[in-house]
Amino acid sequence: MTPTRKRRLIAVLVIITGVGIAATVAMKALNENMLFFVSPTDVQEQALPAGKRFRLGGLVTDGSVSRADDSLAVTFIVTDGLQSVDVRYDGILPDLFREGQGIIAIGELTPDGHFEASEVLAKHDENYMPPEVADALAKAGNVETEQ
């Protein structure tokens, strides 16, 4: 091999190795940071392991929101019309969080069957229904799914 060819070969090998490592790290990072969307029905029907993070979506049940007197702790119920899940959250709820509205909570199930949310999302538009939530409601046979 001429020196030029040898250098080119080395350069190509370095690039391929680099890209390979990057791709491996990326796939690993992707798998570790993937959050599945789960509806209340899924939660009740499938035995989801406690401690696994996922996104829970549904409507906030009317009259279910209750706040602690001395802290920011809040509990509410999320439903898709068929099943519901108790959610606990400690923090500030978004501006558009209302009873009867569609929300997405990110967090995990506790061993006693509550959903412990670390983040609660409601969208920035009063007409807006997160597409996943709309879909889940439609699956549960709820009629009020028209946006």
Binding site: A26, N33, M34, L35, F37, L72, I92, L93, E132
Partner: protein
């Protein structure tokens, strides 16, 4: 009746765009100079027609014509005058019109400022841009007409989304689009070069200033969006890895690779095909971004339209542009001129590192953004990819670029010795190491990764500044080439950004708490006292306004007045954060929700964010570097095609 004129004007613009796309292109193949000459007048006429159309829509907002559906949906009689102008691009239809307006402005600019280009090449560039414009005008007219009437007319408008009633919205979209759309020029240059086939690397020199200007606009557009999110969304985040942010970030990443590879191709002839490919990809990614945002396939703050026909239209458009340009590339690129070789230690190598990393970063962001769509399409469930994925990748991939950056600046083209480089870079290296260690000792809470980030930022800044010093020492005169100044400015900006990012990511303190009137809370040496809330009335909202006194060592630092606004027309609630900005820290207070009946107990966010301003300051530097580089005089010299013979001899000597 005037809005119909707006629509007619848009139709006329479509016809003009057809002429622009067709006649000059035919002219360049048949040698018909009258056809070629059409390109200038058609470009200017098209721009004028779109300006008229845009002006008419703006007038409908300013004079509150609620018989126009788009106006009725996004405006209201109480809307302050300033926001009536920006409301034009607050929703789908109007922002597409803005996109088209900016495209035609770019086209007109190319027509006006590239008279020195060879006639045939210039005509092809303008014709390609004409076709891009045809696609967008069709899209607007067929799926997203902003001039549709509402019958019967509405007595009152729905109001502009309150989130968008803000200075940030006035400036963020136009600047972002200037960047996004501006890459169409680099794209058109690349396609024209491919069509010409025999043309050497001259097209790179011609397209460089255009690419730099677009890139600088995109930089500042993204930074403004981030700044806007920080103060307007009320929870202090400045970047969310939201798919729509990613959509604007991918063209930026590839655009950054592009401006660096253009430098290599222009100066050395190397990376020629790669530069072509990057120019095609940058604009393709801009279009992909438009598709993602406008088709409603994404769950996002920005996704305000979800009409499947629109999605299909843009997807088809995307297919034509990306597929067509890549096919052309595959057919022609192998015949394009090949550049000179280079040694392992040379400026080319370091720029290659830059290009590889930025391309890989863009690919990773693309993966993270499209993967959920793919999984959903396969019916394998609905997933989302969290910010840690992106954070992790950027942390790791930034290492090689940051390390290579100053070395690349110092190294010579073609071949250099590692001994010479390490000798010159000894001091910058030691200084940055000391800065990083010093920060770590003073602020142990920063942790290893962020301390390394600060070291990297300092390495980039000190290395860049030392290079200027090195040039001054070498030359007797005090004149530094403008291109070096531009490069230094942008690289220092990168360092400033990196330091800000590292500091704020680990040293910030964020607290959510319940506060009654009279409560105090201490954070990072500042005491925040909540004095209670009162009612304040704005032009189209009422607000609960909190008052906070911030003291440090018993001296008052500032008073903060965060608001919780209620916009009457849509019944929207909005959080208006109160920020005391500073060079080394921001104090950030926002109201959550009232926790008792008489409104004196509130959920409150209190943040202390060190060095967060450096993130945007860095972006301002980077943008300025881009503009300064584009203003370089040598781009304004007479542009001629080099004789193939000279190009060839160069090639021989270089390899």
């Amino acid at each position: 009746m005037t809005v119909e004129l707006g629509q007619i004007s848009l139709l006329a613009a479509l016809l003009t765009a057809f002429v622009l796309g067709l006649l000059p292109m035919i002219g360049t193949y048949t040698g018909n100079r009258r056809f070629i000459a059409v390109s200038t007048s058609a470009s200017l006429l098209q721009c004028l027609l779109v300006i008229i159309s845009f002006g008419i829509l703006t007038a409908a907002f300013v004079f509150q014509d609620f018989s126009v559906e788009y106006v009725a949906r996004n405006s209201n009689s109480l809307l302050p005058m300033g926001y009536r102008y920006s409301a034009v691009w607050s929703a789908h239809e109007g922002s597409l019109l803005l996109w088209e307006l900016i495209l035609t402005i770019w086209i007109a600019a190319v027509a006006l400022f590239s008279k020195r280009l060879p006639e045939v090449f210039r005509a092809r560039v303008l014709a390609v841009l004409g076709w891009i414009s045809v696609g967008f005008l069709l899209f607007i007219l067929l799926t997203s007409n902003p001039f549709g009437r509402l019958i019967p007319s509405a007595a009152e408008g729905l109001d502009l989304n309150p989130l968008l009633q803000d200075f940030g919205l006035i400036v963020h979209p136009p600047l972002l689009y200037m960047g996004y759309v501006g890459f169409s020029v680099a794209f058109a240059f690349a396609v024209a070069a491919l069509l010409g086939g025999e043309v050497s690397r001259d097209w790179v020199r011609w397209s460089r200033p255009w690419t730099l200007v677009a890139w600088a606009f995109l930089t500042i557009g993204i930074a403004l969006g981030s700044w806007w999110a920080y103060y307007e969304l009320g929870w202090g985040g400045y970047w969310f890895w939201d798919p729509v942010e990613n959509a604007s970030f991918m063209p930026w990443l590839v655009g950054t690779a592009l401006i660096h590879s253009q430098a290599v191709t222009e100066k050395r002839g190397a990376f020629g095909n790669w530069t072509l490919l990057l120019a095609l990809s940058t604009f393709s990614l801009s279009l992909l971004g438009t598709f993602l945002v406008r088709s409603g396939v994404l769950t996002s703050v920005h996704a305000f339209a979800s009409d499947p026909t629109r999605g299909i239209f843009i997807l088809a458009y995307l297919g034509v542009v990306v597929g067509g340009s890549l096919t052309l590339y595959a057919a022609r690129a192998p015949k394009m001129i090949q550049g000179g070789g280079f040694a392992g230690v040379s400026r080319e190598t370091f720029l290659l590192v830059n290009n590889l990393v930025f391309a890989v970063l863009a690919a990773m962001v693309l993966t993270g953004t499209l993967y959920p769509l793919l999984i959903d399409a396969l019916g394998a469930g609905k997933i989302s990819v969290g910010p840690p994925y992106f954070g992790l990748l950027f942390t790791w991939l930034l290492i090689p670029i940051v390390l290579a950056l100053p070395i690349g600046i110092y190294s010579r083209w073609q071949q250099d010795s590692s001994g010479r480089l390490s000798g010159m870079l000894r001091w910058p290296f030691l200084i940055s190491l000391m800065v990083g260690t010093g920060v770590w000792i003073m602020q142990p809470a920063i942790g290893f990764v962020s301390a390394a980030g600060v070291t990297g930022g300092a390495w980039v800044i000190v290395g860049s500044l030392f290079y200027v010093g090195h040039l001054l020492k070498k030359k007797s005169s005090l004149r530094i080439p403008a291109s070096v100044l531009a490069m230094t400015l942008a690289h220092v900006g990168m360092g400033v950004f990196l330091i800000g990012l590292s500091m704020t990511s680990t040293l910030s303190t964020e607290k959510h708490l319940r506060m009654d009137a009279g409560d105090k809370y201490e954070m990072a040496g500042y005491t925040f006292e909540f004095l209670g809330t009162s009612i304040v009335r704005g032009p189209n909202y009422t607000a609960d306004q909190g008052e906070f006194v911030v003291t440090r060592n018993d001296r008052e630092v500032t008073r903060l007045y965060p608001q919780k606004r209620e916009y009457a027309q849509r019944g929207n609630t909005m959080t208006e954060a109160a920020i005391d900005p500073g060079f080394t820290r921001d104090l950030y207070v926002s109201l959550g929700e009232p926790l008792d009946q008489n409104g004196q107990a509130w959920a409150v966010r209190i943040y202390h964010k060190p060095f967060i301003r450096w993130i945007w300051l860095g972006a301002i530097f980077i943008m300025s570097g881009g503009f300064l580089a584009a203003a370089n005089k040598r781009y304004r010299r007479k542009m001629t095609v080099k004789q193939p013979a000279t190009a060839k001899t160069r090639e021989v000597t270089a390899s």
